[in-house]
Symmetry: C2
Subunit: 221 residues, 2 copies
């Protein structure tokens, strides 16, 4: 049984990949170099792919800076120390999951794969619309009308989001119970560079969610 | 009034762009270098963009050869002289319109544009599932759940396909009535190279549909 898994190198997608593996799936991991500010996440995605012994790890390149509109793809400042998110923050990347899932759908169709895993989460998240269950349902419906394999009746695509209703600490506990090593994952949106090394900023949304998750799980990050 | 228009450089997308312009839209044209066999179409897309005096022409690059599965992105042979298409041909590119529309959606959101034009046609076409009205409706529904702008109630995205129910000859007649110059468009899937020049093969599906369209319109191609 094969699956395509979207893998950013963060906690959620890495845990999702591990869950898929644990369910017996062969993993075709898919990552993207979209010229994101935290391009370093791809180095972690590669480590996770190696750790999970994926069947193949494909990285697709395109430049989202041409489109812009996000603090992750422009010089716009990444918000810091926001303990509560009243609105969707500027780290939102327009249509990002739709673009990612579209490539995943293309690859799945070519591989003869029906199950696509995504680490979308609608609990400890930044309120991005393309992480919500109603979005994932609509994408699935569209996907099954979009593709030769599905309209010819060979099968039906499923978008699987096993973390959708878990808190960050539940995700971490789940991953650890399956043997995940979170030291090979990366969360920070705004990496800091010093003395030739890269550090997490510790105060962007993504760092704060990571810290909160480990704290609530009563574990050291 | 602004619109994002998917522009391949072929008859359908060029006519669609002209229709949008004629309706008073400012055109943001979007093309893709996905390492397609007929990459030359982009040179024609540029000519059409200039002809229509578009506001901006963005070309996004990514490599669909890594995904494969199509005669347009692999060494698979392009079918020739097929006068009737009994099934979806191997020139189908998995999830292509879904990927294209996803990028269009991202760009539209950043530009504050609600109308996205696509030259999809479900009459004189190769049976590609992602050209059908039910697919376009499902994409629209998904798009409005995917994006910050729409879920915040700023508006609703529309996918506009003005050619959906026109035959190729009706499309050509429509374009000509609006002043289109089809000599700056390209249709052939399998360009032939000779003496440093590029020629259309004249016998792939896309050439045959082009020829049929001009013939039925009683015009010289």
């Amino acid at each position: 049984m094969k699956s395509v898994v979207l893998l950013s190198g963060g906690i959620d997608s890495s845990t999702t990949a591990l869950i898929a593996k644990n369910e017996g799936y062969e993993i075709y991991a898919l990552s993207f170099n979209y010229n994101q500010r935290h391009l370093i996440e791809l180095e972690y995605a590669k480590r996770v792919a190696a750790f999970l012994e994926v069947k193949r790890h494909l990285i697709i390149d395109f430049d989202m800076r041409d489109i812009g509109g996000s603090a992750l793809t422009t010089d716009m400042e990444v918000p810091k120390n926001k303990s509560s998110l009243e609105q969707i923050p500027v780290t939102y990347v327009p249509a990002r999951n739709t673009i990612f899932l579209s490539f995943a759908l293309a690859w799945a169709e070519v591989l003869g794969v029906w199950d696509i895993f995504i680490g979308a989460n609608a609990i400890d998240y930044s309120g991005y619309p393309d992480c919500r269950p109603e979005y994932l349902r609509a994408f699935t419906e569209m996907a099954n009308l979009a593709t030769k394999a599905s309209v010819q009746g060979q099968g039906k695509f499923n978008i699987k989001a096993p973390l959708l209703y878990l808190s960050k600490s539940e995700i971490i506990k789940k991953g650890l119970s399956l043997g995940m090593d979170y030291s090979i994952t990366w969360s920070c949106y705004d990496p800091q560079f010093k003395d030739g090394k890269t550090y997490q900023c510790s105060i962007c949304d993504s760092c704060l969610f990571r810290e909160k998750g480990f704290k609530e799980a009563m574990l050291k990050n």
